[in-house]
């Protein structure tokens, strides 16, 4: 069965650079979620989208923005990167009507040098 696809899987950036992470949800899933997991920490919710509209917002820095496109894929844009942004970024997808069943992608490991 198709799973959530995230790209790239690994990304290395310098401080103050920008990064764009992409997420392709499971086919027919209309909702995507972004989570950030720092080293040795639990995942923290950043933001979610349903039908291209932001549905919830968590601890997402103002330097980050995200959107969902008409094909339901989503992109997380990160600017003015800081060392503390180094983390695993997970995307999850679900059907809105079954939003408790979120399926996670493999994650993008971002390293900021």
């Amino acid at each position: 069965a198709a799973g959530v696809i995230q790209s790239p899987r690994h990304l290395i950036k310098e401080k103050r650079e920008t990064a764009t992470l992409k997420c392709y949800p499971i086919p027919r899933h209309d909702t995507v979620y972004w989570y950030q997991q720092g080293p040795g920490q639990d995942p923290q919710f950043l933001i979610s989208f349903y039908e291209k509209m932001q549905s919830d917002k968590g601890s997402i820095p103002d330097r980050f923005s995200a959107q969902q496109f008409s094909d339901y894929h989503s992109e997380l844009n990160m600017s003015s990167l800081e060392l503390g942004d180094s983390a695993l970024y997970f995307c999850a997808s679900s059907l809105w009507r079954a939003a408790n069943e979120q399926f996670f992608g493999p994650g993008t490991r971002l390293t900021v040098l």
Partner: protein
């Protein structure tokens, strides 16, 4: 804010033994889920228990939920070396339009062969 917390933080057992991990949360929930994460990898969904359920089984997994104590436990029976991973509980709660998940701190389980 609602947050799941887990104990123990780390657990080391011998293959064949049972492993029990606990999770507590602070506010009323809709569902509680358990996820597994191999070191630095993606989150794999294990089991979901709804707030009106008290116990659920899936293979070697047994989950209990005590809403009066706002706690849940995950029991892995007859553990295997391949069960070595971090285990997180995650909750979603009423009146949350986006159905974001709030993760607990995770238990690092090591199963020695």
């Amino acid at each position: 804010s609602q947050q799941g917390e887990e104990d123990p933080q780390a657990l080391s057992i011998q293959e064949g033994e049972n492993a029990t991990m606990n999770c507590s949360y602070k506010t009323s929930i809709n569902n509680l889920q358990w996820y597994r994460q191999n070191s630095g990898r993606g989150l794999v969904h294990l089991i979901l228990i709804r707030s009106n359920e008290r116990e659920k089984h899936s293979g070697r997994l047994r989950v209990t939920l005590d809403t009066s104590k706002k706690s849940s436990s995950l029991l892995i029976t007859a553990s295997r070396a391949a069960d070595t991973a971090s285990y997180f509980c995650a909750t979603d709660y009423p009146n949350n339009a986006g159905n974001m998940l709030t993760f607990g701190g995770g238990t690092r389980l090591m199963v020695k062969p």
